[in-house]
């Protein structure tokens, strides 16, 4: 048994990867199939291979509404989870993620400024890439503020509270802007700030994938130095990591991954927190070479599931996605905080 330890760990990881991908495919299909109009799997497949056999209405629902939405939810979940892993290591704090630290809210605030400010100054609409840039600036700004605060406090819980406060400040700013802006033009904006994958356009999906894939890959590339960071910065440095540039890289990657999701889907809470912990627990490892790809897969699964629940539970009324992810994610935070060690990486 001892001898086979390494082996069985690898087998377990392989099994879980295959399982995750399988579940992801099922969720993907279900997300497209289920809704106010139910569509059969054969119709979904038909859409790609023999479009002429599928009714026009169903094809339109699949291609214009459900497919971009599902693709966005899955990739969004992956981005938030990977970002959560990076932030948890960066702050050597198991209870942080983009939403808790206020980074998502910072993103939203800047986005609100871009969108609503844009309306005020007469721009008819802001391009998808412009939205991403605005949201990225907000994410970076709050991230830097939180890093600054983190240097002053060492306590896990204090950092959490500071992040929450940043989140409140940004949300307050967003609310102010919403009130000041023209009512008709912000229809849907409030719902959007609570997080939602609805209304994704193909242009937005395109930008989401174009930005997310290289940055997710980057986060996997840095998984070896991330592992050394588990021992703390000094040890990482002593093992040959140039800490300054590496810290910058971590901040950049996690901000981009958060911003790209927030730009189009608003604040999606707790996915970035719950998924890394679930992954570490089921894979029984802290090795980021496993945790990061696994977080991407299971992040997709979780966001896909939550989005499905948001759409279906009180159908035809759609629940705010944030409500669903919070119901699942917040108990994870409580569990981690009440555990003796306050949780660990």
């Amino acid at each position: 048994m001892r001898k086979g330890f390494d082996m069985s760990k690898n087998k377990r990881a392989l099994f879980l990867f295959l399982l995750g991908i399988g579940v992801l495919i099922i969720i993907f299909m279900l997300n497209i199939a289920l809704g106010s109009v139910n569509i059969s799997v054969s119709e979904i497949l038909g859409c790609f291979f023999a479009p002429e056999n599928v009714s026009r209405a169903h094809r339109s629902i699949i291609m214009n509404i459900r497919l971009p939405r599902t693709l966005a939810a899955i990739m969004g979940g992956a981005c938030l989870s990977a970002s959560g892993v990076l932030l948890q290591i960066f702050f050597s704090n198991p209870i942080v993620e983009p939403y808790i630290l206020g980074i998502s809210s910072g993103s939203t605030l800047f986005l609100a400024m871009v969108i609503l400010g844009g309306y005020t100054f007469g721009f008819a609409s802001i391009g998808a890439f412009g939205m991403f840039l605005g949201s990225f600036l907000g994410a970076m700004l709050v991230m830097l503020l939180v890093i600054f605060a983190a240097q002053k406090v060492r306590s896990v819980t204090t950092l959490l509270i500071i992040g929450l406060m940043f989140g409140y400040i940004c949300s307050a700013g967003t609310s102010l802007l919403t009130v000041l802006a023209d009512r008709d033009r912000i229809a849907g904006f409030t719902i959007w700030t609570m997080g939602s994958f609805s209304g994704f356009t193909w242009e937005q999906v395109g930008i989401l994938y174009m930005v997310a894939i290289p940055f997710l890959f980057l986060s996997f590339i840095i998984s070896k130095p991330l592992n050394t960071m588990l021992l703390g910065e000094k040890y990482a440095q002593s093992m040959g990591i140039s800490i300054r540039s590496f810290r910058f890289l971590m901040v950049l990657i996690s901000s981009v991954l958060t911003a790209i999701v927030t730009a189009f889907a608003g604040c999606v809470s707790f996915v970035g927190l719950a998924v890394p912990h679930i992954v570490r627990t089921i894979y029984k490892t802290s090795d980021n070479r496993v945790v990061i790809p696994a977080a991407c897969i299971y992040g997709g699964v979780m966001a896909g599931l939550c989005d499905m629940a948001a759409r279906l539970v009180l159908s035809p009324t759609e629940l705010p996605l944030g409500a669903v992810t919070s119901i699942i994610g917040a108990p994870v935070v409580i569990y981690l905080l009440t555990r003796k060690k306050g949780g660990s990486l």
Binding site: R2, S223, L230, M239, G240
Partner: protein, 402 residues
């Protein structure tokens, strides 16, 4: 001499604020160099600067003749590794995975281990005796086991030099000794230089090839422990006032009360447990007649308010006897520690009789028969245990008689 690390006129500190200045250090292959100093003296700052984590305020640290701040991080990681005080524990990492992290400066971008890497990791774990722990979760080990694993991790980097910040703090005496032994072995067999800070002065003086004393922002002394350890240097280093450290034995004694309640007739190490026991109870003690080369002398010197002592290897002089008699007459009671009796200290036996004649209560730690043989019909109480004798003596001390 094969120099691994050197620095001259180095000043260390944070943000241009100097903490320790004027550091000269030359570390040769296979040396174990220890920094001693009080908490907050700046030992950790010195070590962090030597390891290149912290920029010096002035001067430079050279490793193999190269400025440590200019060596590429990855190259430096192959020459120097660290063991720090904090033991961050990623909750799900096994001992093996943790030690394997030491291969970071050698492996490819995904950190895949080759067969050679695995051999090196196994060897490093074996060096510290941690190989049987390799499948355990690091966070679940005892402090001592953790520290050994962290040393293994440092070894996996195959360094020429290991810098350790207080590697023995929080450890029990068995593990302290084990850690020091491991470092000595590494230095002697693998010629790895170790620079470390310790709080265990006795271990440092016994195990390290050189010690540096850090005090008041300076290096107070530096050299082989035999040359450094003059009487009183440690008391001065740590600013010890109501206790005393004996460089010869490496023991610390706490000062007793400055009065004379109990006189103890001792010698040959028999008085020391009694002295400690009584001092703990707050009793003022005098002691005699002790030869100055006796173990009892070292402890009595610190603990007792007065000691009647004789020069080494001499028969006790009349002068010393009258000094002891004076102490007895001042004391409330007398205890015979059961000292061995020989030619040079026969006078001590007479002191017991003297005390009894003065009407002082006399207690003895000898059996009744031996008492009879040595002291004849002198009235005394005989005890088996030191604590019982001490308790009996306390009954005669004034603060309990009120």
């Amino acid at each position: 001499m094969n120099l691994i690390l050197s620095a001259e006129g180095l000043s260390v500190g944070y943000d241009k604020k100097t903490v320790v200045s004027g550091i000269d250090i030359k570390a040769a292959k296979g040396q174990v160099i220890c920094l001693l100093g009080a908490n907050g003296a700046g030992k950790s700052t010195v070590l962090r600067t030597l390891s290149g984590l912290l920029a010096p305020v002035s001067g430079a640290v050279y490793i193999d003749g190269e400025n440590v701040r200019e060596i590429k991080r990855k190259d430096l990681a192959r020459r120097l590794s660290l063991v720090l005080t904090e033991q961050p524990a990623p909750s799900l990492t096994t001992v093996y995975e943790l030690a394997a992290m030491g291969r970071t400066p050698y492996t490819d971008f995904l950190g895949r281990l080759s067969d050679d890497d695995r051999i090196i990791i196994d060897e490093a774990l074996a060096q510290t005796g941690s190989l049987p722990l390799k499948d355990r979760i690091f966070g679940e080990l005892s402090d001592g086991e953790k520290q050994k694993v962290m040393i293994s991790r440092a070894l996996v980097q195959q360094p020429e030099l290991i810098i350790l910040d207080e590697p023995t703090s929080h450890l029990d005496i068995k593990h302290k000794i084990e850690i020091i032994r491991i470092l000595q072995k590494l230095a002697n067999e693998k010629e790895i230089t170790c620079i470390l800070s310790l709080h265990d002065i006795d271990l440092a003086l016994k195990c390290c090839s050189a010690v540096m004393l850090v005090k008041d922002g300076k290096i107070a002394a530096c050299g082989a422990p035999e040359d450094i350890a003059e009487k009183g240097i440690i008391d001065e280093l740590y600013g010890i006032e109501n206790a005393s450290f004996f460089e010869t034995t490496g023991a610390v004694e706490l000062k007793g009360a400055d009065k004379n309640d109990v006189f103890i007739a001792g010698g040959g190490g028999t008085a020391t447990p009694l002295l400690r026991s009584l001092a703990r109870l707050g009793c003022g003690i005098s002691c005699g007649i002790i030869h100055e080369n006796d173990v009892d002398f070292y402890s009595a010197k610190t603990i007792c308010s007065a000691v009647a002592s004789e020069k080494p290897f001499c028969t006790i002089s009349q002068e010393t006897v009258s000094e002891a008699q004076k102490l007895i007459s001042e004391a409330k009671c007398v205890i015979d520690s059961g000292f061995p009796v020989g030619e040079t200290n026969a006078a001590c036996v007479q002191l017991i009789g003297y005390a009894a004649a003065l009407g002082k209560p006399v207690m003895s730690l000898r059996g009744a028969e031996e008492c009879k043989r040595l002291f004849g019909n002198t009235a005394l109480r005989s005890f088996d245990k030191v604590s019982e004798a001490a308790a009996a003596a306390m009954l005669h001390a004034p603060q309990f008689n009120a």
